[in-house]
């Protein structure tokens, strides 16, 4: 495992302008490791665009349903935050799960002063259990209250760690590109996944 970590986890990186990330150990995960992360767009000079692909599994988890609704309502414009949690998938949790996912997004929208839904949600972990919203709410508040947001390498690495479940290393990739017209830009991505992996997203 340590060899995989050394081989695949970067030690530094350059990240896109206008994004900040924060993470915290909310206590949902039993081992006290990072399990909640928030990405926010801080650039105000352009109304952001967003797109997503989602599982085609007939049983879609609450965060999937909620995020689809937000994207449709906003027509892919003005999405300024993503919240992720690990330890509980908030899946097959019915109306209560939808309410919890909605509350997660609302807490962030309020902190960002958004007048309409502007947050996408992702959850991973055990299926069929309710989110511990007391811990999630406190965790979200803590990230904002402590101003845990940063745009440095460690902040990005930590948010990548915050969505890990059985992963043995966080998956963080960042690259600079130059377009034919000379414009330089950056892509940064993170992912998690180790099992239940054969996606067919649309």
């Amino acid at each position: 495992q340590s060899a995989k970590y050394a081989a695949h986890v970067p030690k530094s990186g350059v990240f896109p302008q206008g994004f900040q990330v924060g993470s915290v150990a909310s206590g949902v995960k039993k081992n006290g490791t990072l399990d909640l992360g928030i990405l926010v767009n801080t650039n105000k000079s352009y109304e952001s665009s967003a797109a997503s692909v989602f599982t085609t599994n007939k049983f879609k988890a609450a965060p999937v349903i909620l995020s689809q609704r937000v994207l449709e309502e906003k027509k892919g414009k003005g999405i300024n935050a993503i919240v992720v949690n690990s330890g509980c998938a908030n899946s097959v949790t019915g109306e209560i799960g939808l309410k919890d996912a909605s509350q997660m997004a609302k807490l962030i929208d309020e902190k960002l002063g958004a007048t309409s839904s502007s947050t996408l949600i992702m959850s991973t972990g055990v299926i069929g259990q309710r989110l511990q919203m007391d811990k999630i709410s406190k965790g979200i508040s803590k990230i904002f209250t402590d101003n845990s947001f940063g745009s440095d390498f460690n902040s990005w690495l930590n948010i990548a760690k915050s969505i890990c479940t059985t992963d043995t290393f966080p998956k963080l990739v960042t690259s600079n590109f130059t377009m034919n017209n000379g414009t330089q830009y950056t892509l940064t991505g993170m992912a998690k996944g180790a099992g239940m992996i054969c996606p067919n997203m649309a």
């Binding site: 999937v64 099992g195 054969c198």
Partner: protein, 227 residues
């Protein structure tokens, strides 16, 4: 569950961004398999915040295809990391299907091989069991058999460490190579990275899937996940 996001500081119009992400996903995250299971939560989000001062990229922009292809390559890197960290995985395996009459058929065959539990256990056991690969090709859920003609089918293992011979042919134009160099086969299958190459010989399209082996450790992890 697969979760992830990609963010960029380019300004990209939302419909163009959606097309880019779908194209990239169909060639990256939708082309990986650890265990063949699909989650209720799989999601990839992408946000473009336009912090870089340049013209907004639309589907008609001259830069659209270039950025789309860069996003695709980037997404492939990220997707491959997920496979490398597959639960209990000891090998990273690229399944390449080339010279197919359609991309869809190439992808379907690559997926069928990548999801075969018997292929994956053979890879773990360093067993050059090409018969299982052929079996998985044969039951791939193709809509027609236009891409699959048995007398044009070639299957090989490819070494990825620059050792020679790089290619070990297992099936040539539908004929099994009965005198396979078992020692070379064992050497290739002992590599942590290797490639299974399938040449259908029926067209010009190709697709790749990335998979891993299936080990005892996978059972250990997943026999005790919820509790």
């Amino acid at each position: 569950t697969l979760l992830g996001f990609i963010v960029t500081d380019l300004p990209i119009e939302s419909q163009a961004l959606s097309k880019m992400l779908r194209y990239a996903t169909d060639r990256s995250f939708n082309c990986i398999s650890v265990d063949g299971d699909m989650s209720t939560n799989d999601t990839i989000n992408m946000i473009a915040n336009g912090a870089v001062k340049t013209d907004e990229i639309t589907e008609d922009s001259p830069e659209f295809l270039q950025v789309r292809d860069q996003v695709t390559q980037f997404a492939q890197k990220l997707a491959q990391l997920v496979v490398r960290d597959g639960e209990g995985a000891t090998k990273f395996v690229t399944v390449k299907v080339q010279n197919s009459s359609t991309f869809a058929d190439a992808r379907t065959i690559a997926e069928s091989i990548s999801n075969s539990m018997l292929v994956k256990t053979a890879l773990y056991g360093k067993d050059a069991n090409w018969g299982r690969i052929l079996c998985a090709i044969g039951y791939a859920k193709l809509e027609t058999l236009d891409s699959l003609q048995t007398d044009k089918l070639n299957v090989s293992f490819i070494a990825t460490d620059n050792s020679e011979p790089r290619e070990l042919k297992l099936l040539v134009n539908g004929v099994p190579q009965l005198n396979i160099d078992e020692e070379r086969a064992s050497q290739i299958l002992a590599l942590p990275d290797l490639e299974v190459l399938v040449d259908l010989g029926t067209g010009n399209e190709e697709a790749q899937f990335w998979t891993c082996d299936l080990s005892h450790e996978y059972v250990t992890i997943n026999g005790d996940y919820r509790s």
